[in-house]
């Protein structure tokens, strides 16, 4: 069927007409598409770009390394260690069960742990890494890395974790860190987002908690690109954080270690203070515990053992524990009496071994009595009756006021947790606390550091330091933060008469160096000292206190200690404080036995500034050297300006 030319032309016309109409429609559609492209890609590009970035760009925090803590000589006492761990991601693992079975050839894992882990993996989303093993050794970590091809989805990771290389030595002072809990967050007004990181560690106690803001540092950030499943694909930008500030403590790691070692498992505490600066050189509370256990997450049984231990290892007895200071308190009423003008250096009381007040008989520790006793002898021989009489004469309020002046019954601000105030009782206190009138018997008890009087070892050390210097020494724990030294306070004068202080110092000195001093048999008479202990309290709660200050010019230190069992352990601590650790001989104590009258008096030690007032004690140094530094000549003592041969020791009891 051949088409005619007319038909062909007509067909062409028709097609051209319709084809152009179609083209018009198509052009309109293409124009619409182009317009739409323009409106989306040019006009609204920013809006979509924002959405796109919101999709794929996430900000992640980089936890900062925690600041280091040094002792006064730069020894690291709290550092960071690499924590090796392995995580598993279900999506990549495929069959987590098989992978974990293989992993168990490399690292030990119990059946129950493996089952719990599998359940955990099943619960989490497929792309969330789950920690398979924490705290791996380097060898385990390396073996996982080497076997990575056989362990799909398992990623070895390393992070930083707090570590306390000195173990329990600084557990109470430094405290420890732990994972951030909801409770922690609830206490913080505006929590730093870095706290939300699962592996982040927060200071829980002690210096770690109190200096948290300094130690934490500043978090860095990473901008990462994530895919639609939320997995990180690459890092776009990384801003490193800043490590927390390095904190230098006033503590001396060696001395601290020595003190902790000597106190051992006893329930005891000791504080060594530089009387000049107030620097706390050692603050030992025993028994101690390993703070690293807490960092890692302590196990139930371990925690129970610590909680139920009758020596209360978790308490920091140096500042939290308050105990009757016993005879160590006697300088307080003595100075109160002297300052009041009601007695003077020549006042003597007769001690028949007891005194009777309001029909009640109060005994001296020496039933036989001390005879006529003056201020210096009252300390040397720790005569109780002298203070019974004194207290009746001057009244409790003067004693309490003096106690507070010397640092007992007031809170010393330190970056430590739960610092106790102690009690310097007076009439107002008893009314408020017990709703009772003050009785004269209360004064009598308080005069020898018993009854209501309570002081922490730190307060005893502060008291001793103040007596030794006559200035309002305040304790200091932090020496420098981030290289910036914390200024030593310019301690104001206490306003006590120098003559009166000298009497008190002489009495303390005589305790150890006097012929009849209650500590005259201590193997280490390094200077003036005074000690005391209360009686008749058996058992682990039996308290006893020692305090004292050395009189060495160059090595000022005051020691406060509590708890009797510690008392005999303190001799070496004193020696160490004076002569430097390791110089003092660790010979067997000779003392240890009961002192006269059954008082096991002690040992206190002390240091130097008191000695500065070397006039107080004509006797000295020789013994110091002889005892403490005989074997290893103590350079400090050698230079101390002590007069050799200044006196032979008299009779020793």
């Amino acid at each position: 069927m051949k088409k005619s030319p007319r038909e062909v032309i007509e067909s062409s016309r028709s097609i051209t007409r319709r084809g152009l109409m179609l083209t018009g429609i198509q052009a309109a559609v293409v124009a619409t598409l182009g317009w739409r492209l323009k409106s989306m890609q040019l006009d609204r590009a920013d809006e979509f770009r924002l959405l796109s970035d919101g999709n794929s760009v996430k900000l992640r925090l980089l936890p900062p390394a925690r600041g280091l803590i040094h002792d006064r000589h730069g020894v690291i006492i709290a550092g960071n260690e690499a924590n090796y761990r392995a995580t598993i991601t279900r999506e990549e693992a495929g069959d987590p069960g098989a992978v974990i079975a293989r992993l168990r050839h490399l690292i030990p894992m119990t059946d129950t742990a493996a089952a719990a882990l599998l359940a955990d993996i099943g619960r989490r989303s497929a792309i969330t890494p789950v920690v398979v093993a924490d705290r791996l050794t380097w060898d385990q970590f390396a073996s996982i890395a080497v076997n990575a091809p056989a362990l799909p989805g398992v990623t070895p990771e390393s992070g930083l974790s707090r570590s306390y290389p000195r173990g329990g030595d600084f557990a109470h002072v430094l405290g420890y860190v732990g994972p951030v809990s909801d409770y922690d967050l609830s206490k913080i007004e505006n929590p730093d987002p870095v706290l939300m990181l699962p592996e982040f560690q927060l200071g829980k106690l002690g210096v770690e908690a109190k200096l948290e803001t300094d130690l934490r540092g500043k978090a860095g950030t990473r901008r990462v690109e994530v895919n639609s499943a939320g997995r990180e694909m690459r890092e776009l930008e990384r801003i490193e954080g800043e490590q927390g500030a390095t904190v230098q403590m006033t503590l001396d790691a060696a001395l601290q270690n020595f003190a902790i070692q000597r106190l051992g498992e006893e329930s005891a505490a000791a504080v060594v203070l530089d009387v000049q600066t107030g620097d706390i050189l050692a603050s030992a509370s025993a028994p101690t515990f390993d703070p690293n256990l807490f960092v890692r997450g302590i196990s139930g049984p371990d925690y129970r053992a610590l909680m139920e231990h009758d020596h209360r290892p978790l308490a920091d007895k140096t500042v939290q524990g308050v105990y009757p200071p016993g005879s160590t308190f006697k300088m307080v009423p003595l100075l109160a009496g002297l300052e009041s003008g009601l007695i003077d250096g020549g006042t003597h009381y007769y001690c028949p071994g007891h005194t009777t007040v309001a029909g009640r008989r109060f005994h001296c520790w020496s039933r036989a009595g001390h005879g006529s006793v003056g201020p210096v002898a009252s300390l040397e021989r720790s005569c109780d009756v002298f203070y019974y009489e004194l207290a009746q004469k001057i009244g409790i309020d003067r004693i309490a006021a003096m106690a507070r002046r010397l640092g007992i019954g007031v809170r010393h601000e330190l970056p430590m947790s739960a610092i106790a105030e102690g009690i310097a009782p007076d009439r107002a206190w008893k009314r408020a606390r017990h709703d009772q009138e003050w009785q004269v018997g209360d004064s009598i008890n308080a005069s020898i550091g018993q009854g209501y009087v309570l002081a922490s070892p730190l307060q005893l050390a502060v008291m001793t330091a103040r007596v030794a210097t006559g200035r309002e020494v305040r304790p200091r724990l932090v020496r420098a933060v981030d290289g910036t030294p914390v200024p030593v306070g310019d301690f104001p004068d206490l306003g006590l008469s120098d003559a009166h202080l000298r009497i008190a110092r002489a009495g303390m000195d005589a305790v150890m160096n006097g012929d009849r001093g209650t500590a005259a048999r201590a193997d280490h008479r390094a200077g003036m000292a005074h000690g005391g202990q209360d009686r008749d309290q058996p058992g682990p709660q039996h308290h006893g206190s020692r305090t004292g200050a050395g009189r060495d010019l160059e090595r000022p230190a005051a020691v406060g200690a509590a708890r009797p069992r510690a008392v005999r352990l303190l001799c070496p601590v004193r020696r160490a404080a004076l002569c430097g650790v390791g110089r003092g001989r660790t010979r067997r104590r000779r003392v240890g036995g009961r002192g006269p009258g059954g008082a096991r008096h002690p040992a206190v030690r002390p240091g130097g500034r008191a000695a500065a007032a070397g006039r107080l004690s004509p006797r000295p140094a020789r013994r110091d050297r002889g005892d403490a530094c005989k074997d290893a000549p103590c350079a400090r003592h050698g230079r101390a300006g002590v007069r050799p041969g200044a006196g032979l020791r008299g009779r020793r009891r």
Binding site: M1, K2, K3, E7, V8, E10, S11, S12, S14, I15, T16, R17, R18, G19, L20, M21, L22, T23, Q26, V29, V30, T32, L33, G34, R36, L37, K38, M40, Q41, L42, R44, A45, D46, E47, F48, R49, L51, S52, D53, N55, S56, V57, E225, V226, N227, S228, A229, M233
Partner: protein, 379 residues
């Protein structure tokens, strides 16, 4: 016209045919395909072996087929149009019975070494058949009701077979493609007006019936229609894809994020990024410059086809060229409209760019037929 009408002295013969090929069209097609290969390389994250290489192989085979078909005399295509149509119907029936099931729809026929998607083939066969039909039909009978009814049946038969697969997108493409053939052939505009009015009225009635006593559809069907028309009402389900696609498209801006730098595609936010939504990757990585260029390439292809058709005095060849160009147009217009949020999401690939062997090869073969019409046009 029968093959007897073609005189050998009017048409080029042998190797001379190469000179008469529509070379601009060849280059345009190669350009679009290259863009496609580039995007496939990008969305695979630089691993050519995943998508780009297989696609390249098919492109080479498809180009070879295009040249081979270009040398075939035009009368051959008219002669086999009925056979091709019937064969396609048979394949569609086969696919419904024994077809390969993918994504909940039976679209594939597994023929040993190759997997065939008969619905794609059908689009071309339908164009061939309708072109042959209107070439055969007297011009003055084109708009008579009986002669209008016949092509309607010819269109709706394969449409019904595709619809039961189910494949709504291809069904609509068949209807639209067939409709355009009838339009170009000169069927009276009144028919088109009537059909559009009828469909519009029906849709209006259905939507209007919602919530009334005489509601024509179930509630869940209405909800499906809602989601279909406006995916943003279901942001985590059907809407997720289209939202992400629009973000990718819009975030490209003027010049895009750079080759292989598109976060939406590389990080898997984009669905179907190597097939139906590949345009969004192009938009994200090459921005407005890239998208408008691709749109320009497509428009040029249409323009060259139109020019070829209008200058061809052979009615069959003209209709055929316009029909294939219109099919091509429907592909990219629907795909782009879909990813830009102008049209509901129906699974239509971006021609020559999306990954998919059947689609690419069949399009190239169809352009081979267009080339054949161009080469063999009466002079």
């Amino acid at each position: 016209m029968s093959y007897l009408d073609y005189s050998s002295d009017q048409t080029p013969t042998g190797w001379r045919k190469i000179l008469y090929l529509n070379w601009p069209l060849v280059f345009l097609l190669a350009s679009v395909a290259s863009a496609g290969l580039l995007m496939l390389y990008s969305v695979s994250g630089g691993r050519a072996e995943v998508w780009a290489e297989p696609q390249l192989e098919r492109f080479v085979v498809g180009m070879a087929a295009m040249f081979a078909l270009a040398f075939v005399p035009i009368w051959f295509w008219r002669s086999i149009s009925v056979v091709a149509y019937v064969a396609c119907l048979a394949l569609l029936v086969m696919v419904d019975v024994i077809g390969h099931n993918a994504m909940g729809a039976q679209r594939w026929l597994d023929l040993g070494p190759i997997k065939l998607q008969p619905s794609e083939l059908t689009k071309i066969a339908l164009v061939l058949l309708l072109a042959a039909y209107y070439d055969w039909l007297d011009l003055d009978r084109v708009s008579r009701p009986l002669w209008v009814l016949i092509p309607v049946v010819l269109i709706l038969t394969p449409t019904a077979l595709v619809l039961v697969q189910p494949d709504l997108g291809t069904s609509l493409m068949l209807v639209a493609g067939g409709g355009i053939m009838m339009f170009v052939a000169g069927v009276s505009l009144w028919y088109f007006g009537a059909v559009i009015a009828a469909v519009g009225g029906l849709v209006f009635a259905v939507l209007k019936s919602r919530g009334t006593d005489w509601q024509l559809l179930h509630d869940y069907q209405f909800r499906r229609i809602d989601t279909f028309l406006d995916p943003t009402t279901d942001p985590l389900g059907a809407g997720y894809n289209i939202t992400q696609a629009q973000i990718a498209l819009g975030s490209g801006g003027w010049s895009g994020r750079g080759f292989m730098q598109g976060t939406q595609s590389r990080l898997n936010f984009l669905p179907e990024k190597h097939t139906d939504f590949i345009f969004t990757t192009l938009a994200e990585e090459f921005g407005f410059v890239g998208t408008i260029s691709l749109l320009g390439l497509y428009t040029l292809i249409l323009a060259f086809c139109l020019y070829s058709a209008l200058t061809n005095r052979d009615r069959f060849a003209s209709l055929l060229t316009l029909g294939i160009a219109a099919t091509f147009f429907l592909y990219f217009a629907v795909n782009m409209g879909m990813v830009m949020g102008l049209l509901p999401v129906v699974g239509v690939p971006l021609p020559m760019v999306s990954y998919g062997g059947t689609q690419l090869m069949i399009l190239l073969m169809a352009f081979g037929v267009v080339q054949s019409a161009h080469v063999n046009r009466p002079r």
